[in-house]
Subunit: 313 residues, 2 copies
């Protein structure tokens, strides 16, 4: 029985898992902090996790990796990723392949989370899936007729980086008015800061640690500024989702990521905005809007789906 | 040798053509005005064109139709189309199939123009194609890994109907701030009218027949308001194209439609806006931006491509 090894590279943890190629529960599973004072490089720390899950018989068909980008999925090179500064133009696929002697497939973590939700999670049975993760950024994974949307350079589905207001606030990428600048955590916090500095009434404080979770909790308690800030994020998220319905026409929209845990204070305004912005009712017929099911396992499970697509056994 | 019959339904003309299934030049070709004082229904006038190209041996494998939407490509029902008011929830595929006894495939005209350009026109050899038609509206056809993007309801690729400015002018569809409201002909004309009413200097006049072509010609002659209006359309078009690169990551963008004939007064500002808005240079590497090649034949040729995909012989 051949195996797949899957890897999820997060800003906080590196994870590796061993799956029998016909199974969806891992036989082994390892997790370690991405950064540690152990004198090892991130790559060496990662490779040791892979060794720890490697099967004794050694019959691994392929390794698949969910990695933060930007990256080139064709070559498996990580261009640069904010949480791992030592990886600049780092040949991750080649380095793993040389060390372990098997084919390695690297893809963007949001793409693979979407693929995982399609194959194993909330999107099972759907052929056209839009997965949106809303956390420190807005990312996406898009399945079109049962295939992952990758694009000519492997850079498709960067759904957080569409302009929703040409003169809007700057995004983390440096460009103006992107969906991410309105709907992701840092954009929500920035808006609250600006309103507090302008004298808005709120239980929220101008604290260096102010987080989108604080804002959502304040909104849930009825704090006017919290409600306003989450409603603003929801309104722009609804504009973004309407755009994506017009573009992709999926049968399901799946929300993942920490900000998506905010509940009605975000999704009430999102749904109102979406209904107002959709230009034909047909897009909403038989459309499911739901939460991701795989949670922290989305990367590992998406990588499993990717391994079985790229290297079937 | 089996044949395909292809049909292009335009606001001005109905066209029908007969192709040997292995050929790309029609053996017969008919064209008639969509509306005429001949007492016939549009469907009857269309059916007579099909009869006129029908081969004597009768060996037709399928009919494919490029139609303006909105429509349901799964059922071949035309919901409503501005230029043919007598067609409301009209079962075009079923009506043609009953009359001619062969399978009939109906798709959105912009989708099929994109498919035609991919298979027979400017997009030959590309696997990921974005076709944009800019005329009285903004439409699109998207090819992803050699397949037409359709969506769960067949309503994908409505690329003119993305919000680029939440409080922007109303689109023909009634929603605010869509790309179409800025970049299509009526949006350009509306902007010029508003500026003329506000006293802007221009050789252009507040004339009921003022057209986007007039505005483009004025721009080409250096008229300041013409230049300004076309530059504004180009700027928003560049925002739209940047969004679509981030979403689809194509290797070619193909422009069709009358407004796309405007030249540098539109495409200079479009290119500047695009370069400013793209959030990673990689999207522009090996990216071709070019004009459509099939012209008035895009619908018939796209329908031919669609017939051979949906009903290979």
């Amino acid at each position: 029985m051949p195996y797949y090894v899957t890897i999820d590279i997060g800003g906080t943890h590196l994870r590796a898992a061993l799956f029998a190629s016909n199974a969806t529960r891992p036989q082994k599973h390892q997790r370690v902090r991405t950064h540690a004072a152990d004198g090892l490089s991130v790559f060496e720390r990662l490779a040791q996790q892979v060794e720890a899950v490697w099967p004794s018989g050694g019959d691994v068909a392929a390794i698949a990796v969910a990695s933060p980008g930007p990256l080139d999925p064709m070559t498996g090179v990580i261009f640069a990723t904010p949480n791992i500064p030592e990886w600049v133009d780092f040949p991750l696929a080649e380095s793993l392949s040389r060390r372990f002697g098997v084919p390695v497939f690297v893809e963007n973590d949001a793409n693979l989370a979407g693929l995982g939700e399609w194959k194993y999670g909330a999107g099972r049975g759907h052929h056209n899936v839009l997965y949106l993760t809303v956390s420190t950024g807005v990312g996406g994974g898009v399945i079109i007729e049962d295939r992952l949307l990758q694009g000519a350079h492997g850079l498709a589905a960067e759904v957080g980086h569409i302009v929703v207001a040409p003169d809007g606030p700057l995004c983390s990428c440096g460009k103006a008015g992107h969906l991410e600048a309105f709907a992701a955590g840092p954009g929500i916090v920035r808006y609250v800061r600006e309103r507090l500095e302008a004298g808005a009434e709120s239980a929220l404080r101008l604290d260096a640690n102010l987080s989108a979770r604080d804002v959502a909790q304040a909104a849930q308690s009825g704090d006017p500024l919290g409600v306003e800030a989450m409603a603003r994020a929801g309104e722009y998220l609804g504009i973004g989702v309407a755009n994506f319905l017009h573009i992709f026409d999926p049968s399901i929209v799946i929300f993942g990521g920490g900000v998506s845990q905010s509940g009605e204070c975000l999704f009430g305004p999102m749904q109102r905005s979406l209904r107002e912005r959709v230009f034909r009712r047909n897009y909403l017929e038989n459309l499911t809007i739901t939460m991701a099911e795989l949670g922290d396992d989305a990367g590992l499970m998406g990588a499993l789906a990717w391994a079985s697509i790229k290297h079937p056994v």
